[in-house]
Subunit: 278 residues, 2 copies
Protein backbone atom coordinates (compact mmCIF):
# COMPACT_ATOMS: atom_id res chain seq x y z
CA UNK A 1 0.00 0.00 0.00
CA UNK A 2 1.45 3.39 -0.96
CA UNK A 3 2.06 6.10 1.57
CA UNK A 4 -0.53 8.46 0.06
CA UNK A 5 -3.18 5.75 0.36
CA UNK A 6 -2.19 5.19 3.98
CA UNK A 7 -2.50 8.91 4.65
CA UNK A 8 -5.76 9.11 2.73
CA UNK A 9 -7.22 6.37 4.91
CA UNK A 10 -5.68 8.11 7.93
CA UNK A 11 -7.85 11.18 7.28
CA UNK A 12 -10.64 10.93 9.81
CA UNK A 13 -9.64 7.45 10.81
CA UNK A 14 -8.69 8.59 14.27
CA UNK A 15 -12.36 9.31 14.87
CA UNK A 16 -13.29 5.81 13.79
CA UNK A 17 -13.52 2.39 15.40
CA UNK A 18 -11.88 0.38 18.16
CA UNK A 19 -12.73 2.93 20.84
CA UNK A 20 -13.35 0.28 23.44
CA UNK A 21 -9.79 -0.98 23.14
CA UNK A 22 -8.45 2.56 23.20
CA UNK A 23 -7.43 2.57 26.87
CA UNK A 24 -3.78 1.87 26.22
CA UNK A 25 -3.45 4.45 23.44
CA UNK A 26 -4.42 7.66 25.22
CA UNK A 27 -0.78 8.73 25.38
CA UNK A 28 -0.02 7.59 21.83
CA UNK A 29 1.64 10.05 19.45
CA UNK A 30 2.38 8.87 15.93
CA UNK A 31 6.14 8.98 15.29
CA UNK A 32 6.07 8.58 11.53
CA UNK A 33 8.46 11.54 11.19
CA UNK A 34 10.93 9.62 13.34
CA UNK A 35 10.79 6.62 11.03
CA UNK A 36 13.80 5.44 9.06
CA UNK A 37 14.19 6.86 5.61
CA UNK A 38 12.92 4.37 3.01
CA UNK A 39 15.77 2.13 1.89
CA UNK A 40 16.40 2.16 -1.84
CA UNK A 41 16.80 -1.52 -2.53
CA UNK A 42 16.24 -2.69 -6.09
CA UNK A 43 15.07 -6.15 -5.08
CA UNK A 44 11.32 -6.57 -5.18
CA UNK A 45 9.74 -9.96 -4.73
CA UNK A 46 6.31 -10.60 -6.13
CA UNK A 47 4.00 -13.60 -5.89
CA UNK A 48 5.43 -15.32 -8.97
CA UNK A 49 8.92 -15.38 -7.43
CA UNK A 50 7.90 -17.90 -4.75
CA UNK A 51 8.23 -20.96 -6.97
CA UNK A 52 8.38 -24.40 -5.42
CA UNK A 53 10.82 -27.00 -6.71
CA UNK A 54 10.43 -30.62 -5.59
CA UNK A 55 12.28 -31.58 -2.42
CA UNK A 56 13.21 -34.95 -0.93
CA UNK A 57 10.73 -35.73 1.88
CA UNK A 58 13.16 -37.78 4.00
CA UNK A 59 15.82 -35.07 3.72
CA UNK A 60 13.25 -32.44 4.67
CA UNK A 61 12.25 -34.48 7.71
CA UNK A 62 15.89 -34.68 8.87
CA UNK A 63 16.27 -30.91 8.46
CA UNK A 64 13.04 -30.26 10.40
CA UNK A 65 14.29 -32.53 13.19
CA UNK A 66 17.63 -30.70 13.22
CA UNK A 67 15.96 -27.26 13.24
CA UNK A 68 13.37 -27.99 15.95
CA UNK A 69 15.67 -27.03 18.87
CA UNK A 70 16.28 -23.66 17.18
CA UNK A 71 12.64 -22.55 17.15
CA UNK A 72 10.19 -25.37 17.90
CA UNK A 73 7.54 -26.98 15.72
CA UNK A 74 6.19 -24.29 13.38
CA UNK A 75 9.69 -22.98 12.73
CA UNK A 76 11.05 -26.49 12.20
CA UNK A 77 8.57 -27.38 9.46
CA UNK A 78 8.67 -24.01 7.69
CA UNK A 79 12.46 -23.68 7.88
CA UNK A 80 13.01 -27.21 6.58
CA UNK A 81 11.20 -26.30 3.35
CA UNK A 82 12.30 -22.69 2.83
CA UNK A 83 15.98 -23.28 3.73
CA UNK A 84 16.24 -25.91 0.99
CA UNK A 85 14.54 -23.60 -1.54
CA UNK A 86 16.98 -20.87 -0.51
CA UNK A 87 19.90 -23.24 -1.17
CA UNK A 88 18.50 -24.37 -4.53
CA UNK A 89 16.63 -21.33 -5.88
CA UNK A 90 18.22 -18.46 -3.94
CA UNK A 91 16.11 -15.31 -3.60
CA UNK A 92 13.51 -14.49 -2.54
CA UNK A 93 13.68 -17.55 -0.26
CA UNK A 94 17.14 -16.67 1.07
CA UNK A 95 15.79 -13.42 2.55
CA UNK A 96 12.56 -14.80 4.01
CA UNK A 97 12.53 -14.12 7.78
CA UNK A 98 11.82 -17.72 8.81
CA UNK A 99 12.63 -16.83 12.44
CA UNK A 100 9.17 -15.22 12.62
CA UNK A 101 7.64 -18.70 12.59
CA UNK A 102 8.88 -19.34 16.13
CA UNK A 103 5.59 -17.87 17.38
CA UNK A 104 3.77 -21.11 16.58
CA UNK A 105 5.32 -23.02 19.50
CA UNK A 106 2.86 -24.61 21.93
CA UNK A 107 -0.16 -23.92 19.73
CA UNK A 108 0.62 -20.22 19.02
CA UNK A 109 2.65 -18.52 21.78
CA UNK A 110 1.92 -21.42 24.12
CA UNK A 111 -1.85 -20.92 23.99
CA UNK A 112 -2.55 -24.52 22.97
CA UNK A 113 -4.44 -23.88 19.74
CA UNK A 114 -3.29 -25.31 16.38
CA UNK A 115 -0.28 -27.64 16.40
CA UNK A 116 2.65 -25.50 15.32
CA UNK A 117 3.89 -28.12 12.87
CA UNK A 118 0.57 -27.78 11.01
CA UNK A 119 0.63 -23.98 11.25
CA UNK A 120 4.11 -23.97 9.69
CA UNK A 121 3.04 -26.40 6.98
CA UNK A 122 -0.03 -24.27 6.17
CA UNK A 123 2.12 -21.14 5.96
CA UNK A 124 4.59 -22.84 3.61
CA UNK A 125 1.84 -24.28 1.39
CA UNK A 126 0.13 -20.89 1.19
CA UNK A 127 3.41 -19.20 0.20
CA UNK A 128 4.23 -21.83 -2.43
CA UNK A 129 0.78 -22.71 -3.83
CA UNK A 130 -1.07 -19.43 -3.42
CA UNK A 131 -4.54 -20.35 -4.67
CA UNK A 132 -6.81 -20.36 -1.62
CA UNK A 133 -9.06 -23.24 -2.68
CA UNK A 134 -6.10 -25.45 -3.59
CA UNK A 135 -4.38 -24.64 -0.29
CA UNK A 136 -7.54 -25.63 1.60
CA UNK A 137 -7.71 -28.99 -0.19
CA UNK A 138 -4.01 -29.76 0.33
CA UNK A 139 -4.13 -28.79 3.99
CA UNK A 140 -7.33 -30.72 4.68
CA UNK A 141 -5.38 -33.79 3.55
CA UNK A 142 -2.57 -33.04 6.00
CA UNK A 143 -4.92 -32.12 8.87
CA UNK A 144 -7.00 -35.28 8.45
CA UNK A 145 -3.85 -37.41 8.39
CA UNK A 146 -2.66 -35.68 11.56
CA UNK A 147 -5.92 -36.41 13.37
CA UNK A 148 -5.98 -40.10 12.44
CA UNK A 149 -2.34 -41.31 12.14
CA UNK A 150 -0.44 -42.76 15.12
CA UNK A 151 2.47 -40.33 15.52
CA UNK A 152 5.40 -39.83 15.76
CA UNK A 153 6.73 -42.19 13.09
CA UNK A 154 10.02 -40.49 12.27
CA UNK A 155 13.26 -42.25 13.20
CA UNK A 156 16.08 -39.68 13.19
CA UNK A 157 19.45 -40.52 11.68
CA UNK A 158 21.04 -38.76 14.66
CA UNK A 159 18.59 -39.00 17.61
CA UNK A 160 18.59 -36.15 20.14
CA UNK A 161 18.02 -38.65 22.96
CA UNK A 162 17.93 -42.39 23.52
CA UNK A 163 14.13 -42.64 23.61
CA UNK A 164 11.61 -44.14 21.22
CA UNK A 165 8.40 -42.13 21.79
CA UNK A 166 5.22 -44.23 21.91
CA UNK A 167 2.77 -43.34 19.13
CA UNK A 168 -0.64 -41.83 19.80
CA UNK A 169 -3.54 -40.75 17.60
CA UNK A 170 -4.11 -37.04 18.28
CA UNK A 171 -7.81 -37.06 17.28
CA UNK A 172 -7.40 -33.29 17.13
CA UNK A 173 -5.23 -30.70 15.36
CA UNK A 174 -4.93 -28.68 18.57
CA UNK A 175 -1.59 -28.68 20.40
CA UNK A 176 -3.34 -28.86 23.78
CA UNK A 177 -5.29 -32.00 22.90
CA UNK A 178 -2.54 -33.64 20.84
CA UNK A 179 0.19 -33.29 23.48
CA UNK A 180 -2.14 -34.14 26.39
CA UNK A 181 -3.37 -37.29 24.65
CA UNK A 182 0.21 -38.36 23.94
CA UNK A 183 1.24 -37.74 27.54
CA UNK A 184 -1.65 -39.82 28.83
CA UNK A 185 -0.67 -42.68 26.52
CA UNK A 186 3.08 -42.43 27.16
CA UNK A 187 2.98 -41.47 30.85
CA UNK A 188 5.23 -38.43 30.62
CA UNK A 189 4.53 -34.88 31.78
CA UNK A 190 3.96 -32.01 29.38
CA UNK A 191 7.30 -30.45 30.30
CA UNK A 192 9.31 -33.69 30.10
CA UNK A 193 12.19 -34.04 27.65
CA UNK A 194 10.41 -37.14 26.36
CA UNK A 195 7.35 -35.07 25.36
CA UNK A 196 9.63 -32.57 23.61
CA UNK A 197 11.32 -35.42 21.73
CA UNK A 198 7.85 -36.61 20.65
CA UNK A 199 7.02 -33.16 19.29
CA UNK A 200 10.44 -32.90 17.64
CA UNK A 201 9.84 -36.16 15.76
CA UNK A 202 6.25 -35.22 14.94
CA UNK A 203 7.64 -31.98 13.43
CA UNK A 204 9.79 -34.13 11.15
CA UNK A 205 6.73 -36.25 10.25
CA UNK A 206 4.75 -33.16 9.20
CA UNK A 207 7.69 -31.79 7.21
CA UNK A 208 7.92 -35.13 5.39
CA UNK A 209 4.19 -35.18 4.70
CA UNK A 210 3.83 -31.57 3.55
CA UNK A 211 6.72 -31.89 1.09
CA UNK A 212 5.16 -35.13 -0.17
CA UNK A 213 1.91 -33.24 -0.76
CA UNK A 214 3.73 -30.31 -2.43
CA UNK A 215 5.66 -32.69 -4.69
CA UNK A 216 2.48 -34.40 -5.81
CA UNK A 217 0.72 -31.07 -6.33
CA UNK A 218 3.72 -29.81 -8.34
CA UNK A 219 3.68 -32.96 -10.47
CA UNK A 220 -0.12 -32.83 -10.87
CA UNK A 221 -0.32 -36.24 -9.21
CA UNK A 222 -1.97 -35.12 -5.96
CA UNK A 223 -4.87 -37.26 -4.86
CA UNK A 224 -6.62 -36.76 -1.53
CA UNK A 225 -6.53 -40.09 0.28
CA UNK A 226 -7.06 -39.20 3.94
CA UNK A 227 -10.04 -40.88 5.50
CA UNK A 228 -13.19 -38.80 5.57
CA UNK A 229 -13.76 -37.26 8.99
CA UNK A 230 -17.01 -39.05 9.76
CA UNK A 231 -17.85 -37.26 12.99
CA UNK A 232 -17.40 -33.84 11.43
CA UNK A 233 -19.37 -34.86 8.35
CA UNK A 234 -22.23 -36.23 10.44
CA UNK A 235 -22.52 -33.06 12.53
CA UNK A 236 -21.98 -30.68 9.63
CA UNK A 237 -24.80 -32.28 7.65
CA UNK A 238 -27.14 -30.15 9.77
CA UNK A 239 -24.81 -27.64 11.45
CA UNK A 240 -22.50 -26.76 8.56
CA UNK A 241 -22.97 -23.91 6.10
CA UNK A 242 -24.95 -26.19 3.76
CA UNK A 243 -27.03 -27.70 6.57
CA UNK A 244 -30.49 -26.73 7.71
CA UNK A 245 -29.01 -24.97 10.73
CA UNK A 246 -25.88 -23.60 9.10
CA UNK A 247 -24.78 -22.33 12.48
CA UNK A 248 -21.15 -23.37 12.63
CA UNK A 249 -17.99 -23.97 10.61
CA UNK A 250 -14.79 -25.93 10.98
CA UNK A 251 -13.39 -29.30 9.96
CA UNK A 252 -11.95 -30.47 13.26
CA UNK A 253 -13.10 -33.74 14.77
CA UNK A 254 -16.20 -32.68 16.73
CA UNK A 255 -16.15 -35.44 19.33
CA UNK A 256 -12.83 -34.37 20.83
CA UNK A 257 -14.70 -31.53 22.57
CA UNK A 258 -18.41 -32.36 22.11
CA UNK A 259 -20.59 -35.36 22.93
CA UNK A 260 -24.19 -35.77 21.83
CA UNK A 261 -26.70 -34.93 24.54
CA UNK A 262 -29.77 -37.03 25.22
CA UNK A 263 -31.87 -34.03 24.20
CA UNK A 264 -30.09 -33.92 20.86
CA UNK A 265 -30.61 -37.66 20.35
CA UNK A 266 -34.34 -37.30 21.01
CA UNK A 267 -35.18 -33.84 19.74
CA UNK A 268 -32.47 -33.01 17.20
CA UNK A 269 -34.97 -32.69 14.41
CA UNK A 270 -36.86 -29.96 16.26
CA UNK A 271 -33.75 -27.83 15.75
CA UNK A 272 -35.24 -26.49 12.54
CA UNK A 273 -37.32 -24.09 14.61
CA UNK A 274 -34.11 -22.49 15.82
CA UNK A 275 -32.88 -21.82 12.30
CA UNK A 276 -30.96 -18.58 11.89
CA UNK A 277 -31.46 -15.86 9.31
CA UNK A 278 -29.71 -16.49 6.00
Amino acid sequence: MERRKVLKIAAGAVAAGGSGLVAMTTAFKPEVKAAEKPKNIEFKANESDWKYVPLEPATTAEIAYAEYPNGSCMYGVFKSVVSQLAAIVGEPFASFPSQMMKYGHGGVNGYGTICGALNGAAAAVSLLVGDKKNCDVLMAELFAAYETTPLPEFKPKDPGMDFEPPKSVAKSVLCHASTTRWGKKAGYTISSKERKERCRRLTADIAFKVVTILNNYHANTFMANAHDNETARTCMTCHGSEGKLGNTSGKMTCTSCHEESLAHKVFADSHHKFMSKR
Copy 2:
Protein backbone atom coordinates in the same frame (compact mmCIF):
# COMPACT_ATOMS: atom_id res chain seq x y z
CA MET B 1 20.95 -23.27 5.47
CA GLU B 2 23.74 -23.73 2.92
CA ARG B 3 23.51 -26.21 0.08
CA ARG B 4 26.40 -28.31 1.34
CA LYS B 5 24.69 -28.69 4.71
CA VAL B 6 21.50 -29.73 2.99
CA LEU B 7 23.40 -32.29 0.96
CA LYS B 8 25.28 -33.47 4.04
CA ILE B 9 22.01 -34.08 5.84
CA ALA B 10 20.67 -35.68 2.67
CA ALA B 11 23.33 -38.38 2.85
CA GLY B 12 21.55 -41.40 4.23
CA ALA B 13 18.46 -39.41 5.01
CA VAL B 14 16.43 -41.32 2.46
CA ALA B 15 16.82 -44.37 4.63
CA ALA B 16 15.50 -42.47 7.65
CA GLY B 17 12.09 -41.67 9.17
CA GLY B 18 8.57 -41.00 8.02
CA SER B 19 8.16 -44.41 6.43
CA GLY B 20 4.51 -44.70 7.46
CA LEU B 21 3.61 -41.58 5.49
CA VAL B 22 5.65 -42.73 2.52
CA ALA B 23 2.73 -44.10 0.50
CA MET B 24 2.43 -41.04 -1.71
CA THR B 25 6.14 -40.78 -2.40
CA THR B 26 6.90 -44.16 -3.97
CA ALA B 27 7.10 -42.56 -7.42
CA PHE B 28 8.98 -39.49 -6.20
CA LYS B 29 12.19 -38.54 -7.99
CA PRO B 30 14.06 -35.48 -6.72
CA GLU B 31 14.22 -32.84 -9.47
CA VAL B 32 16.88 -30.63 -7.96
CA LYS B 33 18.74 -30.62 -11.29
CA ALA B 34 15.62 -29.14 -12.86
CA ALA B 35 15.54 -26.31 -10.33
CA GLU B 36 15.96 -22.67 -11.34
CA LYS B 37 19.49 -21.33 -11.28
CA PRO B 38 20.08 -19.36 -8.07
CA LYS B 39 19.27 -15.69 -8.66
CA ASN B 40 22.09 -13.29 -7.89
CA ILE B 41 20.26 -10.62 -5.98
CA GLU B 42 22.26 -8.35 -3.70
CA PHE B 43 19.45 -7.73 -1.27
CA LYS B 44 19.70 -9.79 1.88
CA ALA B 45 17.36 -9.19 4.78
CA ASN B 46 18.40 -10.21 8.26
CA GLU B 47 16.55 -10.14 11.57
CA SER B 48 17.68 -6.62 12.46
CA ASP B 49 16.11 -5.20 9.28
CA TRP B 50 12.56 -5.87 10.51
CA LYS B 51 12.32 -2.76 12.67
CA TYR B 52 8.93 -1.60 13.89
CA VAL B 53 8.03 2.08 13.87
CA PRO B 54 4.92 3.24 15.77
CA LEU B 55 1.70 3.21 13.76
CA GLU B 56 -1.67 4.88 14.34
CA PRO B 57 -4.07 2.21 15.73
CA ALA B 58 -7.25 3.73 14.26
CA THR B 59 -5.59 4.07 10.85
CA THR B 60 -4.39 0.48 11.07
CA ALA B 61 -7.92 -0.67 11.90
CA GLU B 62 -9.31 1.11 8.82
CA ILE B 63 -6.66 -0.50 6.61
CA ALA B 64 -7.41 -3.95 8.09
CA TYR B 65 -11.12 -3.43 7.41
CA ALA B 66 -10.32 -2.33 3.83
CA GLU B 67 -7.99 -5.32 3.25
CA TYR B 68 -10.27 -8.01 4.71
CA PRO B 69 -12.16 -8.67 1.44
CA ASN B 70 -8.80 -9.25 -0.30
CA GLY B 71 -7.73 -12.15 1.92
CA SER B 72 -9.83 -12.54 5.08
CA CYS B 73 -8.89 -12.14 8.74
CA MET B 74 -5.24 -13.23 9.13
CA TYR B 75 -4.28 -11.38 5.95
CA GLY B 76 -6.22 -8.28 6.99
CA VAL B 77 -4.42 -7.87 10.30
CA PHE B 78 -0.94 -8.74 9.00
CA LYS B 79 -1.26 -6.62 5.85
CA SER B 80 -2.56 -3.61 7.78
CA VAL B 81 0.70 -3.51 9.77
CA VAL B 82 3.26 -4.55 7.15
CA SER B 83 1.81 -2.41 4.34
CA GLN B 84 2.25 0.72 6.50
CA LEU B 85 5.82 -0.27 7.41
CA ALA B 86 6.50 -0.82 3.70
CA ALA B 87 5.20 2.71 2.98
CA ILE B 88 7.23 4.28 5.81
CA VAL B 89 10.38 2.13 6.05
CA GLY B 90 10.52 0.49 2.61
CA GLU B 91 12.46 -2.77 2.40
CA PRO B 92 12.44 -5.44 3.61
CA PHE B 93 8.73 -4.88 4.35
CA ALA B 94 7.92 -3.91 0.76
CA SER B 95 8.96 -7.36 -0.46
CA PHE B 96 7.29 -9.42 2.28
CA PRO B 97 4.83 -11.86 0.65
CA SER B 98 1.84 -10.86 2.80
CA GLN B 99 -0.46 -12.80 0.45
CA MET B 100 0.76 -15.97 2.18
CA MET B 101 -1.26 -14.99 5.26
CA LYS B 102 -4.50 -15.78 3.44
CA TYR B 103 -4.20 -19.34 4.75
CA GLY B 104 -5.45 -18.24 8.18
CA HIS B 105 -9.06 -17.80 7.02
CA GLY B 106 -11.67 -19.78 8.94
CA GLY B 107 -9.23 -20.86 11.64
CA VAL B 108 -6.43 -22.05 9.27
CA ASN B 109 -7.69 -23.22 5.87
CA GLY B 110 -11.25 -23.32 7.19
CA TYR B 111 -10.44 -25.90 9.86
CA GLY B 112 -11.87 -23.79 12.69
CA THR B 113 -8.78 -23.59 14.92
CA ILE B 114 -7.21 -20.27 15.93
CA CYS B 115 -9.01 -17.08 14.88
CA GLY B 116 -7.13 -15.81 11.82
CA ALA B 117 -7.03 -12.26 13.14
CA LEU B 118 -5.05 -13.54 16.14
CA ASN B 119 -2.82 -15.74 13.96
CA GLY B 120 -1.99 -12.70 11.82
CA ALA B 121 -1.33 -10.57 14.88
CA ALA B 122 0.95 -13.25 16.36
CA ALA B 123 2.86 -13.53 13.07
CA ALA B 124 3.36 -9.75 12.91
CA VAL B 125 4.44 -9.48 16.56
CA SER B 126 6.90 -12.33 16.09
CA LEU B 127 8.38 -10.68 13.00
CA LEU B 128 8.69 -7.27 14.69
CA VAL B 129 9.55 -8.20 18.29
CA GLY B 130 11.49 -11.42 17.80
CA ASP B 131 12.24 -12.42 21.38
CA LYS B 132 10.11 -15.50 22.10
CA LYS B 133 9.34 -14.75 25.76
CA ASN B 134 8.35 -11.15 25.00
CA CYS B 135 6.15 -12.30 22.10
CA ASP B 136 4.39 -14.77 24.42
CA VAL B 137 3.66 -12.04 26.97
CA LEU B 138 2.39 -9.55 24.37
CA MET B 139 0.18 -12.14 22.69
CA ALA B 140 -1.23 -13.46 25.97
CA GLU B 141 -2.50 -9.91 26.52
CA LEU B 142 -4.18 -9.88 23.12
CA PHE B 143 -5.57 -13.43 23.45
CA ALA B 144 -7.03 -12.75 26.89
CA ALA B 145 -8.66 -9.55 25.64
CA TYR B 146 -10.12 -11.47 22.69
CA GLU B 147 -11.64 -14.10 24.98
CA THR B 148 -13.25 -11.58 27.33
CA THR B 149 -14.14 -8.46 25.30
CA PRO B 150 -17.55 -8.07 23.61
CA LEU B 151 -16.62 -7.79 19.91
CA PRO B 152 -16.79 -6.35 17.33
CA GLU B 153 -16.37 -2.75 18.48
CA PHE B 154 -15.00 -1.18 15.30
CA LYS B 155 -17.14 1.36 13.45
CA PRO B 156 -15.80 1.71 9.89
CA LYS B 157 -15.54 5.11 8.29
CA ASP B 158 -16.85 3.52 5.09
CA PRO B 159 -19.03 0.51 6.09
CA GLY B 160 -19.17 -2.44 3.70
CA MET B 161 -22.87 -2.94 4.52
CA ASP B 162 -25.65 -1.20 6.42
CA PHE B 163 -25.50 -3.51 9.44
CA GLU B 164 -24.35 -2.99 13.01
CA PRO B 165 -23.18 -6.44 14.21
CA PRO B 166 -24.27 -7.35 17.74
CA LYS B 167 -21.32 -7.88 20.09
CA SER B 168 -20.54 -11.23 21.67
CA VAL B 169 -17.86 -12.48 24.05
CA ALA B 170 -15.98 -15.25 22.25
CA LYS B 171 -14.86 -17.05 25.46
CA SER B 172 -12.41 -18.81 23.15
CA VAL B 173 -9.65 -17.93 20.70
CA LEU B 174 -10.86 -20.62 18.28
CA CYS B 175 -12.61 -19.48 15.09
CA HIS B 176 -15.13 -22.30 15.36
CA ALA B 177 -16.25 -21.31 18.88
CA SER B 178 -15.98 -17.55 18.34
CA THR B 179 -18.07 -17.45 15.16
CA THR B 180 -20.60 -20.01 16.41
CA ARG B 181 -21.13 -18.10 19.65
CA TRP B 182 -21.63 -14.87 17.72
CA GLY B 183 -24.12 -16.50 15.36
CA LYS B 184 -26.12 -17.87 18.26
CA LYS B 185 -26.26 -14.41 19.84
CA ALA B 186 -26.97 -12.53 16.61
CA GLY B 187 -29.18 -15.11 14.91
CA TYR B 188 -27.32 -15.27 11.61
CA THR B 189 -25.90 -18.31 9.84
CA ILE B 190 -22.19 -18.98 9.56
CA SER B 191 -22.26 -18.23 5.81
CA SER B 192 -24.35 -15.05 6.09
CA LYS B 193 -22.98 -11.73 4.89
CA GLU B 194 -23.75 -10.41 8.37
CA ARG B 195 -21.36 -12.96 9.96
CA LYS B 196 -18.68 -11.97 7.44
CA GLU B 197 -19.19 -8.31 8.34
CA ARG B 198 -18.79 -9.23 12.01
CA CYS B 199 -15.47 -10.95 11.25
CA ARG B 200 -14.40 -8.05 9.05
CA ARG B 201 -14.92 -5.60 11.92
CA LEU B 202 -13.32 -7.94 14.45
CA THR B 203 -10.29 -8.05 12.15
CA ALA B 204 -10.09 -4.27 12.45
CA ASP B 205 -10.43 -4.53 16.24
CA ILE B 206 -7.48 -6.93 16.46
CA ALA B 207 -5.37 -4.76 14.14
CA PHE B 208 -6.12 -1.78 16.38
CA LYS B 209 -5.23 -3.73 19.51
CA VAL B 210 -2.02 -5.34 18.22
CA VAL B 211 -0.63 -2.01 17.01
CA THR B 212 -1.53 -0.51 20.39
CA ILE B 213 0.43 -3.29 22.07
CA LEU B 214 3.38 -2.88 19.66
CA ASN B 215 3.43 0.89 20.22
CA ASN B 216 3.53 0.44 23.98
CA TYR B 217 6.21 -2.24 23.70
CA HIS B 218 8.25 0.01 21.40
CA ALA B 219 7.89 2.92 23.86
CA ASN B 220 8.68 0.68 26.86
CA THR B 221 5.27 1.55 28.28
CA PHE B 222 3.65 -1.88 27.83
CA MET B 223 1.74 -3.10 30.86
CA ALA B 224 -0.31 -6.30 30.80
CA ASN B 225 -3.81 -5.38 31.91
CA ALA B 226 -6.01 -8.19 30.59
CA HIS B 227 -7.95 -9.98 33.29
CA ASP B 228 -6.37 -13.17 34.53
CA ASN B 229 -7.98 -16.23 32.97
CA GLU B 230 -9.38 -17.68 36.18
CA THR B 231 -10.68 -20.96 34.74
CA ALA B 232 -7.35 -21.73 33.10
CA ARG B 233 -5.42 -20.75 36.21
CA THR B 234 -7.62 -22.93 38.42
CA CYS B 235 -7.19 -26.01 36.22
CA MET B 236 -3.50 -25.43 35.51
CA THR B 237 -2.71 -25.25 39.22
CA CYS B 238 -2.75 -29.06 39.14
CA HIS B 239 -2.71 -29.88 35.42
CA GLY B 240 -0.16 -27.34 34.13
CA SER B 241 3.57 -27.91 33.82
CA GLU B 242 4.12 -26.62 37.37
CA GLY B 243 1.21 -28.61 38.84
CA LYS B 244 1.32 -31.97 40.57
CA LEU B 245 -0.04 -33.64 37.45
CA GLY B 246 1.74 -31.55 34.86
CA ASN B 247 -0.15 -33.37 32.17
CA THR B 248 -1.29 -30.58 29.89
CA SER B 249 -0.44 -27.17 28.49
CA GLY B 250 -2.29 -24.24 26.96
CA LYS B 251 -3.76 -20.93 28.06
CA MET B 252 -7.20 -21.17 26.46
CA THR B 253 -10.31 -20.89 28.59
CA CYS B 254 -10.81 -24.50 29.73
CA THR B 255 -14.58 -24.34 30.29
CA SER B 256 -15.38 -23.64 26.65
CA CYS B 257 -14.75 -27.34 25.97
CA HIS B 258 -14.55 -28.98 29.40
CA GLU B 259 -16.83 -29.14 32.42
CA GLU B 260 -15.89 -30.59 35.80
CA SER B 261 -17.16 -34.12 36.32
CA LEU B 262 -18.73 -35.26 39.58
CA ALA B 263 -15.83 -37.70 39.94
CA HIS B 264 -13.37 -34.81 39.65
CA LYS B 265 -15.30 -32.79 42.25
CA VAL B 266 -15.21 -35.71 44.67
CA PHE B 267 -11.94 -37.48 43.88
CA ALA B 268 -9.76 -34.84 42.23
CA ASP B 269 -7.14 -35.12 44.93
CA SER B 270 -6.66 -38.83 44.29
CA HIS B 271 -5.28 -37.78 40.90
CA HIS B 272 -1.81 -37.76 42.42
CA LYS B 273 -1.68 -41.52 41.96
CA PHE B 274 -1.91 -40.98 38.21
CA MET B 275 1.10 -38.70 38.18
CA SER B 276 3.29 -39.04 35.11
CA LYS B 277 7.03 -39.49 34.92
CA ARG B 278 8.99 -36.24 35.00
